[in-house]
Subunit: 338 residues, 2 copies
């Protein structure tokens, strides 16, 4: 979707992907299939580009750094370092950006885990430091009895323990910052998950009079602290008292921002391209309220019904195997004013 937005602006994209047949292969100028660890290939590729970016937060930061030695890399590689490791991420957000996160502790042993459970109190969640997404690598500890099975679930992976936050809602902010420090943000987005996978995102979120500016300001504080350039997503827990706690950041365009494609403003993909290319960021004020629904697995087979709905826009990813839970596409529905 980034490549499609770049094409709309007359820019050409070249893709570097370890997969032989990534979706961008079909909509880009050139496609290089090579490993992230082949730094010579990475550099040879990056040399042919004016700007290099990424849309996957588990690109190794060595790979990103290699690209940055021969081209301009945005977002900067330190955003990957921070986002890839929950311990680094939470520490950075709390200690450097001074933005609230749930209480957490580094966990290095079963004994350490038991002691952290005592410090933080129950319930809490044991999370692998790396490679977790869509609820993977997370173990809820409700009672003392859950401690050992959670520890065994880690299977030796490094982890942190987080206090469980009794949030009333999950919201996110998609924002952009350019190299001059200009900042813009879409309205706060309300996210509903099913089975720990994002199901719908609606923007602007309902009833957010007190937290709207807060959320955007908190996102900006993190992006400023990172010297961030490009689009970044910040996910929050909204607490009963209206306060916000950052859950995590994603240094890329984000599923909870797909609604922007049909909202009557610059969409998150174009916004990212504009930000990294030094263009004016443009307007992020939607003309409509939009609800995005992910098409997971077999949901995608209903595409013809969605195609008939007025004020509904279909985006399909062309993946062939609709296995359960796989993101196959999404639809954006414009919600007429109530």
């Amino acid at each position: 979707m980034l490549a499609l937005s770049a094409a709309r602006l007359g820019l050409q994209c070249r893709i570097y992907d370890p997969s032989p047949n990534g979706p961008a292969a079909h909509v880009s100028d050139q496609y290089t299939q090579a490993e992230y660890s082949d730094l010579a290939d990475v550099k040879a590729f990056a040399k042919t580009c004016d700007i290099v970016t990424y849309e996957f937060e588990n690109v190794p930061s060595d790979t990103a750094l290699a690209a940055s030695t021969v081209s301009t890399l945005y977002p900067p590689a330190n955003a990957l370092d921070v986002a890839q490791d929950r311990l680094t991420e939470k520490s950075f957000i709390r200690d450097i950006a001074k933005v609230p996160v749930a209480n957490f502790e580094d966990v290095a042993s079963l004994k350490g885990l038991q002691s952290s459970v005592n410090h933080l109190g129950l319930p809490c969640i044991l999370k692998t430091r790396r490679m977790g997404y869509d609820g993977k690598g997370q173990f809820v500890i409700r009672t003392e009895n859950d401690i050992i099975s959670a520890w065994e679930g880690l299977n030796g992976q490094a982890a942190i323990l987080e206090k469980f936050m009794p949030f009333i809602r999950e919201v996110s902010v998609i924002a952009a910052r350019n190299s001059r420090g200009d900042f813009t943000s879409y309205p706060v987005i309300e996210n509903i998950h099913k089975n720990q996978i994002l199901h719908t995102s609606t923007a602007p979120s309902r009833n957010l009079t007190t937290t709207r500016d807060d959320a955007q300001n908190l996102a900006r504080r993190i992006m400023d602290a990172l010297g961030y350039v490009g689009v970044m997503a910040t996910e929050f827990f909204e607490m009963e008292d209206g306060s916000l706690i950052v859950n995590e950041i994603a240094p890329r365009v984000h599923n909870s921002g797909h609604w922007t494609q049909d909202a009557g403003c610059i969409d998150q993909f174009e916004l990212h391209i504009r930000a990294i290319c030094g263009w004016p960021l443009g307007s992020t004020a939607p003309l409509h309220k939009v609800e995005m629904t992910n098409l997971l697995g077999e949901d995608v087979n209903d595409w013809a019904n969605y195609a008939k709905e007025p004020n509904t826009f279909i985006h399909l990813y062309g993946k062939s195997d609709p296995r359960a839970g796989r993101k196959m596409g999404h639809i954006n529905r414009i919600i007429k004013s109530e």
Copy 2:
């Protein structure tokens, strides 16, 4: 732009283009550079496609027919035959579709031209039958004195003479029809030309209470007569009494339909893809009034100013040489309700 729309729907496009570096090369799955006259290449290419379409009305109809022998071709090749030759086009529209056009006569000699000028009356316009666009191949005859220079301007090309119609406005209709005969149309578009090149298109057109349904019905009559499948543009002259006269048709997505990309409904490119693939056509009712302005030649250098305007969307074609009059891109401005 068709390839970008197809990609949004999860479909892959392969391109056949005589040019080594056509714009679709950068956004498509495969790119075949070969001549239209190489029918073996055309067939080999078409065999790899489920559906073949075109977005240039001067594709030779033999080329289209060759593709249609090994794949499904939409729009049908007869639409090319009709649209490529002004004599065939006007005759088809007047005699088969029974839709009004300006009076015209086939012109085969200087003597015949003089006699046609007498029949039709002055002023009138001598037009080459083939390959005319943006005012090219047209010679206005205001007085008897213009006849010889107009004839010489033809340089031996076959031509027709048309009565000049004192129109008050040029409007167009972009409509789609699928193989089941389902039809849908965007609102009537008002077009302003400068130096015979489209400058702005605004939709919905102002003050069209009497002609709106007429225009759409006339377009449909032509498309039904052609057994048309896909998006087609019909250009009209609007006369002082509100009546409409067809100027020409274009069997493809059309510059006067580019505003649909940012109107809050299915755009003309996706509509064409839906129509030729047998998808539900979807909604063509715009949520906004939009004004499209072409960026011709050096106009494109103002892109950064347009990028700052709220409610303005930029589309650039990535062409390197901004020579005078060349279509380099366009902008769509959402016009807030007055």
